[in-house]
Subunit: 252 residues, 2 copies
Amino acid sequence: MSEQPTAGMVIIGEEILGGRTQDTNLARLANFLGPIGIAIREVRVVVDEVEEIAAAVNALRTRYTYVFTTGGIGPTHDDVTADGIARAFGVELKERADALAILEAYYAEGDLNAARRRMARIPGDASLIENPVSAAPGFRLENVFTMAGVPKIVDGMLESIRPQLAGGPPLLSVSIRSNALEAEISEGLEALQNEMPDVRFGSYPFARSGRFGTRLVGRTTDADRLAAAEEKIVALLERLGKEYVREDPDAA
Amino acid sequence: MSEQPTAGMVIIGEEILGGRTQDTNLARLANFLGPIGIAIREVRVVVDEVEEIAAAVNALRTRYTYVFTTGGIGPTHDDVTADGIARAFGVELKERADALAILEAYYAEGDLNAARRRMARIPGDASLIENPVSAAPGFRLENVFTMAGVPKIVDGMLESIRPQLAGGPPLLSVSIRSNALEAEISEGLEALQNEMPDVRFGSYPFARSGRFGTRLVGRTTDADRLAAAEEKIVALLERLGKEYVREDPDAA
């Protein structure tokens, strides 16, 4: 499945590291990129400090096709993501006329104060990412997309950049829920993995209404191989005399 | 606040990177470490691959006082976290008698199959972390604590290692919810930050029942300074003619 473009993600925010706020943008981004055929391979969560942000972005932008950052582009003093991106690329950060024009059009006269003007600071010659929710733009520099942290704005910005992303074949998956314990299917699943190395098999134990079970998952970009994998998982469960349900993967 | 020990975290699991599973262990660990006075400074989420796990652990274990990993220590072929830790430290991974004895005591005769025996593989001379939920132990090697991914087991293992963690002064915080917009308090908050550099101030916009507002937060390990910061936040909001509510920080 090496034909899939890859992605890294940098989540910026002390409120997430402190446990006060539960991040949901990772799952949001993953569920946006999955159908496009782009696979997230690594995520880093860092504090709101210029050097930390720059180091994380630089580590990921050379390794992965795309990098996405969320958080830290608002109007307050602890919003330093734009500074971090400028540092990462070694470019200047300054107020840009095109970004300022967007803010001027959005805010009533007198409401565009110094704090909000900070949101017109854009690193180098980055292109702007449209924000259909609250105007203040994100920006793209080379393969790095910098977005807000508020989930609804992330959704809007992702739609804005969709045409810029070159995807690959989407990763397809099957998910089969069974009453097998993980240790009961482990040996059979490993044999399956060795037999079909182009499919990635995983198992995820769960407890539901006090009963334990395992969800068996197969993933590949090839629909025929996926169908073959599904039948082999089912055959394994039947051989072991287990109950199972084929799940809608999107609901899994 | 440099007197606080620091922590890094490595979350292992393709199911999290794929968006299928929402991680909750970061917030869980943060809320456990906070009252002990240990601050999470960085988190990495990586795929279930030995080299990726080893690289992340090695990057963090030299930078932070403690490193905690979650996920990938179960009985199946894609559980390779123990292999990753062994690789990171350059030590052998083999079945250990003390870990095996725990599994033998827990499982009925005949139930301890080859898959479950994998969970007795421990890197080098790591000490075991008791698992009060499902027996299979985690382990500690130097400053790295390796735990399961299932949240309930993480809770149990954290309680097991609590006596081993040397904390610092707990980070105290105040949280004040107001109807101010972020851009309205930004300038005043930055002035506050410059006036009290030993307190970290943050602002978090929210929308509730269609009304926008901002939560103003101050954090420090010093109770007196915190009280002073709280009064200054309140004075700022009153100067601006805003409504506000002092929140229970634990409920924020």
